[in-house]
Subunit: 420 residues, 2 copies
């Protein structure tokens, strides 16, 4: 019976996810550590997209990336080069990487290296730049490039040396703790950033850098409560990756957006993307901005929800409603409703207010279609124009079409194989 | 009308509490900063108690304090000196100080100096020693004394220099944040300890101590999730102190236990203690221990509940039920029931799961008597014998007699003044 095969496959797939052991193993650079990177490769968030179809914030981040790499001197040169065909654009997700918002990764950028110790696969993510005018929200001005250079030349070497002294850091335990401390790991990362700092601080002190440099690094991390986001993301990415290729599994192992389209990938359907136009985020805007300034949903950060945290753990992070909108009961209801579309309850990430019930984990495209309930995603809102930055935060869903198309393809595949 | 006078007085008293601005202003030593300390003064938790009436853990801490000060070479010498009448024993609360568990403060001990910027009054508290065999739980072995000496000679000078670089630290804002991060400030202080470390770390780096010393200090704080308790306590103490002497006020400004007796003090009744035998704590015991090992309730840490956090904020710290016993709904119910015995809702400390309602603040002895509901306290459990240490954690109440006697005294005072 095919239903039995699917059930077994989903059990296997979610079992792989549950058994993951995401661990920080070091700091590298995109060029040296991510397979196949060249000076002219630019990775971006979400499913594949060509330069002409890119949204404002993604274009802005590409412009910034080319200037940062010294391949262009200004916006005009960068736009010309980006449109020339000389640049290889590819999703982060095709290279074991993930990036928040625009998710632009270029050759010289430092990356966290996170390994799933159970399966040996790795995931990569840049270091979080902080708030305000930053590359990931499409800003590319001088302050953005200067900060990226400081991160490359100072922050990353210090953290690299620190991790050599501290040894590997178990992210699964750390994420389990932060879910007890009001974080959901996507849009609220204050506890995670705090735990990371206290873990690293004694080793930062022991590196051979100057006191001023050490203090600058500690102050930089302290100034940015989202610093830990760029660790929850590769933790989720490397935990989900082993689900790919579990034959007959209808569980989602990727949700990602490039600012134009939302894409999902399904364990039993391999590398194939199922995409549809990304939606506008419902949320709270910073003073002076409104929905008309908003770019559609963008970023690989929905990998957190795919793994069972983010919006799925919102009931563990009630204060987030003051950032994304709504009231506490909404946060509880969102997390509860996700049990209707998932395969399992997380064995590590528990929600205190739901009697320590594990977060809803393992999105099943069958259940999404059956119930009509779409995954809930907590996310930031980028300005639709290149160069502006973040304008708010809120809640969004993947388009239902992604799930419909995936289920259709799944059925077609079964038919082709004579299973139906 | 006297009822009107009382209502006005309680409004005034709770207004003073709400307007408090507890702020870390520095590190000092008990001998130099706490008024009237001599080499032979020993401060302790709770209401006054004589050596012969002290419980095991308090005796143990006194023994340790005398050895630490070099006034005794061993247990026997310390006991003899303690019983000789040469030592002045006095509650911390009589000297603007507070101490967790045994609360022993001696001349050479370093202390946090916390100032209520609204009123200018200060409170003092020793630095938290960590878990396991520690003085505050009545242990006095060599490891305890060695650690106290390291704290005096290394930890305190580093933190003192750090605070000179960082400047003052606003504790009210920090406590408001930790209540959004799963802390209740008494028995759960993981977020507070984390926020303190990330705040101080850049300045620790900039002090002139060796890298090894700086790393040791950061590791020591990192190893102890209760490090922040010794700041929530003096924050609460200095916030509550200005309530003392508000004529006609029936609000409690002190709850404290010496391990033998529980004592409360009431704003309109000045310095007078109302005491009754301390109760046994209901809770969870560490492996190998049970209720028969438990000392009755001990410590000044109930000052947190007196100020509106601790057990009163338990609904903001649901994971604590895994440490003190019970289920999530219990935590919510405890916090909710406290609104029935308090004057106001806290304007700074808000409970996410209760729709960000301010914590119940300002215990009214009238309401405690009327409703029969006693304040709820989250606390640690000390072994009843000197020298052993912590054996568990749980929940406890003040004896009703404290409130009955206080209300009786209040009525007597009104009668004496011709108000009734």
């Amino acid at each position: 019976m095919i239903a039995e095969k699917i059930a077994q496959a989903n059990k296997e797939a979610v079992g792989r996810l549950q058994s993951a052991q995401p661990t920080i193993v070091g700091i590298g650079t995109a060029g040296k550590d991510i397979p196949g990177m060249t000076k002219k490769t630019i990775l971006h968030a979400g499913p594949p997209v060509t330069w002409d179809k890119m949204s404002g914030p993604l274009k802005g981040a590409v412009i910034g990336g080319l200037i940062y790499e010294g391949l262009a001197a200004n916006k005009e040169e960068a736009e010309k080069l980006a449109a020339s065909g000389e640049i290889t654009f590819d999703p982060c997700h095709h290279r074991n990487a993930v990036g928040p918002m625009a998710g632009v990764v270029t050759y010289s950028m430092p990356v966290w290296i996170v390994e799933n110790k159970t399966f040996g696969n790795k995931a990569y993510c840049t270091l979080n730049e902080g708030l305000g005018k930053v590359l990931r929200f499409g800003a590319y001005g001088e302050e953005v490039i200067t900060r990226l250079k400081w991160m490359e030349n100072t922050l990353a070497p210090v953290l690299k040396a620190t991790l050599e002294l501290s040894g590997e850091i178990d992210l699964k335990t750390m994420i389990a703790q932060v879910v007890q401390m009001g974080d959901e790991g996507h849009n609220r990362n204050k506890a995670g950033t705090s735990l990371l700092i206290r873990e690293l601080a004694p080793y930062i002190v022991k590196t051979n850098f100057s006191d001023q440099v050490k203090a600058d690094v500690l102050s930089f991390m302290h100034s940015n409560d989202h610093f830990f986001l760029n660790l929850t993301m590769p933790a989720a990415k490397c935990a989900l990756e082993p689900m790919k290729g579990v034959k007959y599994s209808t569980l989602v192992y990727t949700m990602a957006r490039n600012g134009t389209e939302f894409g999902i990938r399904v364990a039993g359907l391999g590398d194939r993307w199922f995409t549809a136009p990304a939606e506008i985020i419902q949320g709270l805007y910073f003073p002076g901005y409104s929905e008309k300034d908003a770019n559609p949903d963008i970023g690989d950060s929905a990998i957190t929800e795919t793994s069972g945290i983010g919006g799925f753990a919102m009931a563990a992070a009630i204060p987030i409603v003051q950032f994304v909108g709504g009231v506490p009961q909404d946060a509880i209801n969102y997390s509860k409703s996700m049990y209707e579309i998932t395969e399992a309850e997380n064995i590590a990430y528990k929600i205190p207010v739901l009697d320590f019930r594990g977060t809803a984990t393992g999105i099943d495209i069958q259940k999404v279609i059956e119930t009509g309930i779409r995954p809930i995603i907590n996310t930031g809102i980028a300005h639709k124009d290149a160069g502006v930055g973040q304008v708010g935060a809120g809640l969004v869903h993947p388009p239902m079409k992604c799930f419909e198309d995936a289920l259709e393809a799944f059925i077609e595949q079964l038919e082709a194989e004579g299973e139906l």
